[in-house]
């Protein structure tokens, strides 16, 4: 771009790398939409109880397998949100309660209304919720209930918190491991490089599922859900850093040969300054793109592990734990809405992948 000229050009001329990346990413509409969705999901991560309508642990065997109660915004043309009430009838053969919704009976609900009390970030006590029934004694099941009569909507909100956090933390750990070990491998070279590369090859050649099984089986049964949660995260990232480590090493090797890195060396820059000021910023955007593509893999891994009963265990809630409820074919026939957590996984993974693709395309604004 020449330097003569318009305001638009001047804007480009003084635009930093991050601005250029952002401008390119913005043109990617699908990625932008997915980004908004992810922001929404992480809002749930921050305050799942705000979105929940009930305590996710509240059980009531009498209210098992309640079907989905859809929110209706208008009543007789007026804005007055409601959900249809549920009516139960005992099956004379199985003697089970069978629930159906009755749109004639309306349970009025309100947005941003008071409900059960919870603490924002575990600190600030509040009772405000996104949706709450007008009558606080009334229970509503926006996505139905499971065999113990727990509200699936609320449980998905809490599952989102766990699963999305596991993905993020596991990738963050992988990035730290990958950048440090890959960076050392690429920058120091020689014997160190050889050793790290052999370790990566070893880790990559071991089949992942047995590794997980073995590691998870080794977790003491008496650990608290929080401990298990962190252990699972560490296990996932221990296996997951290798790809990133390889990529970082490759970038280091390529960057070492770049003219501007040599120029910095000849200017008298220290090794640390070259790495931090010249090399890391150059591949940071790539690492972010790679990480955002790694998060969905971690989410899937966590979900699979938990689904198999080897990952996060009840009473902790994750998407995988929720899907465990849908393992039984009979339950599925009776309560197909228990598959909804699977849908959530698909949407979240797709969103991450689309954002990752968009970031990857936008990551290098200087390709000419």
């Amino acid at each position: 771009m020449t330097v003569a000229g318009s305001v638009a050009e001047d804007r480009v001329a003084v635009a930093s790398n991050w601005k250029l990346v952002w401008w390119r990413f913005r043109r990617h509409h699908l990625a932008m939409a997915s980004g908004v969705l992810l922001i929404f999901l992480y809002m749930i991560v921050i305050a799942p109880d705000f979105f929940a309508t009930q305590d996710p642990e509240r059980t009531d065997a009498r209210q098992a397998f309640i079907p989905v109660q859809t929110i209706h915004l208008f009543d007789d043309g007026r804005l007055a949100p409601w959900v249809p009430a549920i009516v139960g009838k005992r099956n004379p053969v199985t003697l089970r309660m069978e629930w159906t919704t009755d749109p004639k009976k309306k349970v009025p609900v309100r947005f941003f209304a008071a409900g059960f009390s919870w603490r924002l970030l575990g600190l600030i006590p509040t009772t405000i919720h996104l949706v709450a029934p007008v009558d606080p004694n009334q229970r509503i099941f926006l996505l139905g209930s499971d065999r113990l009569g727990r509200d699936q909507w609320s449980r998905i909100m809490h599952g989102t918190q766990t699963s999305m956090t596991v993905g993020l933390v596991a990738v963050a750990l992988s990035v730290v491991l990958g950048v440090v070990l890959g960076g050392i491998s690429g920058y120091v070279g020689g014997k160190t490089d050889q050793v790290i590369q052999r370790i990566i090859e070893l880790l990559q050649s071991v089949p992942t599922i047995p590794i997980w099984l073995a590691l998870s089986a080794a977790l003491p049964r008496d650990w608290t859900p929080i401990q298990v949660f962190f252990a699972i995260t560490v296990i996932l990232s221990l296996v997951g850093w290798t790809t990133l480590g390889r990529e970082v090493r490759g970038r280091f090797l390529a960057l070492r040969e770049e003219d501007f890195v040599l120029a910095a060396r000849l200017a008298g820059c220290s090794r640390m300054r070259i790495i931090l000021r010249h090399m890391v910023p150059t591949f940071l955007s790539h690492i972010i793109a790679t990480s955002s593509l790694a998060i969905p893999v971690m989410i899937i891994n966590e979900t699979s592990l938990s689904f198999l009963g080897l990952g996060i265990r009840p009473p902790a809630i994750s998407w995988g734990v929720l899907l465990q409820e849908a393992q039984n074919i009979q339950t599925l026939a009776l309560a197909p809405w228990l598959l909804i957590p699977g849908l959530v996984v698909i949407v979240a993974v797709l969103a991450f992948n689309l954002v990752g693709d968009g970031l990857r395309d936008a990551a290098d604004p200087y390709s000419h």
Binding site: M1, T2, A4, G5, R27
Partner: protein
């Protein structure tokens, strides 16, 4: 027969390739780049046409357009590319059919036949043009088998053995020593010079009517360049193939071309016989370009006459004559109108208001 003779003379004077008002644009996110903006020139049979210009002058895009190889988001938006095809079944030149390449579907059978069959390309980087997983010989043998009828009178198909013998002959022809061994080499096993020779052999394998050499010596060293240039001159003299020789190196142009087209920002600035271009340039751009290069004879360590300013960015084409912001002889009318390419003197054409007042209508 008596009637044939004057016609035959006439047909050799008819251009083999005639580009008229060619426009190629690239619709990029940032804006429209008019890479080729109304280019016209002719290539006579057996002529070596030199196309010279700096980066962004559209010389390579023009050649890609001639081969219908312009890739999206690029598009030929206007103009004609008339190419006189090979006469069918060895008939004489008058039975040759002329097609407008600009109107042909890029992937159609006619274009596929022309590309590689009648117009061959020698690219700048032969490393990229050869597949690394097949031997160089195999790739040329494939090309010969594909366009086999050129080597065979009558319709009989060539055998692989015959195609291989032809390839060995081609290798010998382009001065590759030990052709029987080299034919089984992979492109990455050959040196830069040998690779470019192999590429020339590949281009010749279809006995083209027109050879497009796109900066064929830019990536190789000067002594190797001298060898390749001598080879091309020799092949041209023996086979009489027309060549379009694209380069930014004025020395190479002076030594290779008989007729020169000077391009700047997608337009032809000046064209004429090589001697006139170098010794009586008409366009201020040609003059400035010739003055600005250091020679092996001039005074050393003195300031060279320069062309002021920088090449404009493709999104910021200057209005009017594209060269006017850098032109030492700029006049008041230059920013307002695009000069058309008009005859100047007896043998040259120039698009400059110093010499005529004809405004380009397109």
């Amino acid at each position: 027969m008596a009637l044939d003779r004057p016609m035959a003379v006439a047909s050799t004077l008819r251009p083999l390739l005639s580009v008229r008002n060619l426009r190629v644009s690239f619709a990029l996110d940032e804006g429209l780049v008019r890479a080729v903006d109304g280019t016209s020139f002719d290539v006579m049979p057996g002529q070596v046409l030199g196309v010279v210009g700096e980066s962004g002058c559209g010389k390579s895009v023009t050649m890609r357009a001639i081969l219908q190889l312009v890739e999206r988001p690029g598009r030929i938006t206007a103009g004609e590319i008339h190419f006189r095809r090979r006469p069918p079944n060895g008939g004489d030149e008058d039975s040759a059919e002329t097609v407008d390449i600009a109107r042909l579907p890029p992937r159609g059978p006619v274009m596929r036949d022309i590309r590689g069959g009648e117009i061959a390309l020698i690219p700048q980087e032969p490393m990229a043009a050869f597949s690394p997983v097949h031997t160089v010989g195999d790739q040329i043998v494939e090309a010969i088998l594909l366009h086999g009828q050129r080597w065979q009178e009558g319709g009989r198909k060539l055998t692989r053995r015959e195609a291989r013998d032809i390839t060995v002959g081609l290798f010998r022809d382009v001065g590759i020593s030990m052709p029987e061994q080299r034919i089984d080499a992979f492109s990455w096993q050959l040196s830069g010079g040998l690779r470019q020779r192999a590429m020339i052999a590949m281009a010749l394998s279809c006995k083209p009517r027109l050879l497009i050499a796109d900066e064929p010596t830019t990536a190789i060293d000067v002594t190797t360049q001298a060898q390749v240039l001598a080879l091309l001159r020799d092949l041209q003299a023996r086979h009489g193939t027309a060549i379009i020789f694209i380069t930014h190196d004025l020395g190479v142009i002076a030594q290779m071309a008989s007729y020169v087209v000077v391009m700047y920002l997608g337009r032809v600035m000046e064209e004429g016989p090589v001697d006139d271009i170098f010794h009586a340039p008409r366009h201020p751009y040609t003059r400035a370009l010739l003055r600005s290069i250091p020679s092996l004879y001039g005074e050393t360590r003195v300031a060279l006459p320069v062309i002021s300013g920088a090449l404009p960015h493709p999104f910021n084409r200057p209005p009017g004559c594209p060269f006017h912001p850098r032109c030492p002889d700029v006049m008041t009318k230059c920013p307002g109108a695009v000069p058309s390419l008009q005859p100047v003197g007896t043998s040259q054409l120039a698009s400059c208001f110093l010499h005529h007042d004809v405004v380009d209508a397109g």
